[in-house]
């Protein structure tokens, strides 16, 4: 690929301050998006190494590379980083910040300074979470769920981790407040609700969950913290407490939080599929409403994580029933994507491949979710590696792959340069194969009864665990190749024009990378819908 210099650098060089301060004190939503993106990718890579270490330990029964305590700490920190520092902020904070204002024709979010503050909260929370590994009584070993009573009694450094997660909650809340206000107040002229790109709709639904659910996590973590300091017995049955209530409070946040993870991913896929099928998104309003419906229904089902906790049988029945309701809007989405593809003129560019992998893997994860949502089968599957396989299918195979799809779709817009396609496709192939080998084996061995969160297992589980570990290496190779290729693309990819993919949303009508304040002197006026491809042609690159 020829090396060419960009003659335009957009917001990277424009701005009130130059140099590093221009980044650290910026209120430009695009710069904040890039700051988030950098941090999130680093966090992912760190936690990925931990994930590989877990898998390596499980390659054979008995102790391979670490003992029980190290293993507990490793999966806890892997979970905390992946959940709170990677997947929850990933698409929302990085791509949402960068794209949301452009998508609705605004020049920035409603509260740019709060936006910067949210990034600092993210950094502070992240530093605390990482500091908890090296300080105090050792890395937390409670699992990412901090279940009482163990979390209030263990001598490891739960305090710092809990404090870090609390501050990360602030970061998430500030983003949510910003997005809801921005979408309500700053839409350009002609940008009616019916013309919002689906990505914006999903961000809207997500932002409401961030606002209405995250504080519940905040208070729960504060209570764990206070309990560790005062030893008051808030969750101690002997002193009138109830450990199951902790689980209620925790999941009242954390279940809606899985929709914070997946909804923006669905939005990304809803942008990519129509663009590469050259057809309008099928069932616009069904898609928009189902995003809100997922957000709402998702806050009714939290206790399906607790069938085996000893809560009342009536509650098991009620929550099992409610859980099936969530499947409806999710299925609407899958069917609408398929209908969009039907008879489209499909181009299998790298973003599209990742989007298709998303649909495939999310469907498997979602169906596995039904098996777990039915109380009868859950009692058998609970706390086995089937659960681990299931949530990796949804969070990693779903939201994670959507994040990678978004990277391939929008990085040319962010940087003005195109990565090479052939290595991108190879990387995708490795990841797709590796991913499914890894987690399908974990699901299978889970059905046979292998429990999760143990460093050791019975010899009869050996074969599938070996396969899973080999899968994790293929997966990791693919991920590394992908990031290397993207990095090369950022550094010296071929320059692209405004619209390399032929998209119809607003970001494709402005230069790559976008200028400061996004649109020139004139505010944009929107006259057509986000998936109206008539007359839109992709630029050559």
């Amino acid at each position: 690929m020829t090396e060419t210099t960009l003659n335009y650098s957009g917001f990277y060089t424009e701005g009130p301050r130059k140099g590093i301060l221009g980044w650290l004190l910026t209120t430009d939503h695009k710069r904040i998006g890039i700051l988030y993106l950098g941090c999130i990718v680093v966090m992912f890579l760190i936690a990925m190494v931990l994930g590989l270490a877990i898998r390596l330990e499980l390659i054979a029964p008995g102790k391979t590379i670490m003992g029980p305590q190290a293993y507990n700490a490793t999966f806890t920190v892997h979970g905390i980083i992946m959940i709170f520092l990677f997947i929850i902020p990933s698409i929302v904070a990085a791509f949402g910040n960068f794209l949301l204002p452009i998508h609705i024709g605004a020049r920035d979010v409603s509260f740019p300074k709060l936006n910067l503050l949210s990034w600092y909260c993210y950094v502070a929370g992240g530093l605390l979470a990482i500091a908890s590994i090296f300080t105090g009584g050792g890395a937390p070993d409670t699992g990412w769920t901090f279940y009482v009573p163990f979390s209030t009694q263990t001598t490891t450094n739960v305090n710092l981790a809990v404090l870090g997660a609390f501050i990360l909650g602030f970061s998430s809340i500030l983003t949510g407040i910003n997005f809801v206000t921005t979408i309500h107040r700053l839409r350009a002229k002609g940008m009616t609700w019916g013309r919002l790109p689906m990505f914006v709709w999903t961000l809207y639904a997500t932002a409401w969950i961030q606002i209405l659910a995250t504080p519940m996590l905040g208070i729960t973590l504060v209570l764990v913290f206070l309990e560790r300091i005062f030893g008051a017995g808030l969750f101690d049955a002997a002193r009138g407490g109830d450990p199951i209530l902790y689980q209620h409070l925790f999941w009242i946040y954390s279940h809606p939080a899985v929709y914070i993870m997946i909804l923006p991913g669905m939005g990304v896929v809803s942008e990519i599929i129509p663009t590469f099928a050259r057809k309008p998104l099928f069932g616009y309003w069904a898609m928009a409403i189902s995003s809100l419906a997922i957000a709402f229904a998702g806050s009714l089902v939290w206790a399906h994580h607790m069938y085996a906790s000893g809560m009342s049988d009536l509650a098991v029945l009620v929550f099992s029933f409610l859980t099936f309701i969530v499947a409806i809007p999710s299925a609407i989405k899958v069917f609408n994507w398929i209908s969009t593809l039907y008879k489209g003129s499909i181009e299998l560019a790298p973003p599209m491949l990742f989007a298709l992998a998303f649909i495939f893997q999310f469907a498997i994860g979602g169906l596995g979710g039904l098996a777990l949502g039915a109380a009868a089968s859950d009692v058998h599957l609970h706390d086995t590696s089937f659960v681990v396989g299931h949530f990796h299918y949804t969070m990693f195979g779903g939201a994670g792959f959507a994040f990678f799809a978004a990277l391939h779709f929008w990085l040319p817009k962010f940087t003005g340069r195109m990565y090479r396609h052939k290595p991108a496709v190879i990387a995708w192939g490795l990841m797709f194969v590796g991913f499914n080998v890894l987690y399908m084996s974990m699901q299978a061995v889970g059905i046979q009864g292998m429990p999760r969160r143990y460093y050791d297992y019975l010899p009869e589980f050996q074969a599938l665990n070996l396969v899973a570990t080999v899968g994790s290496w293929i997966l990791a190779a693919g991920i590394l190749l992908m990031f290397y290729n993207l990095w090369q693309g950022i550094r010296r990819g071929r320059p692209v024009g405004n619209n390399p993919w032929g998209g119809a949303t607003l970001e494709w009508q402005i230069p790559s990378p976008p200028p400061l304040e996004n649109f020139g002197a004139e505010d944009p006026v929107v006259t057509k819908g986000p998936y109206d491809y008539k007359g839109v042609v992709a630029d050559e690159y």
Binding site: W208, D242, I244, M311, S312, L314
Partner: protein
Amino acid sequence: MAEEHKPVSYRSYFVIWLALSALSGLNVWIAGLAGGSLTAWIILAVASLQAGLVLSVFMHLNQETKMFRLGILALLIIVAVSIGLTFVDVLYR
């Protein structure tokens, strides 16, 4: 709806304050009369009435647009759901 709020007269604020104080007094009085769940519900109803007054007059909700009210509706539903569905567990163990 107006984008900018009209000033609310001192008088109206005073009237609301009187009503709020009277309702708090009422609650203390009711609590002294009898116990049990009926009383509890009455006390909570009075408190909700107070909340309504604070929201609409003190917090100017009556001058805001529909989008503000929709938000509050969403909030109340979520709070009710959290408490209600948790009771489904705790009361039937």
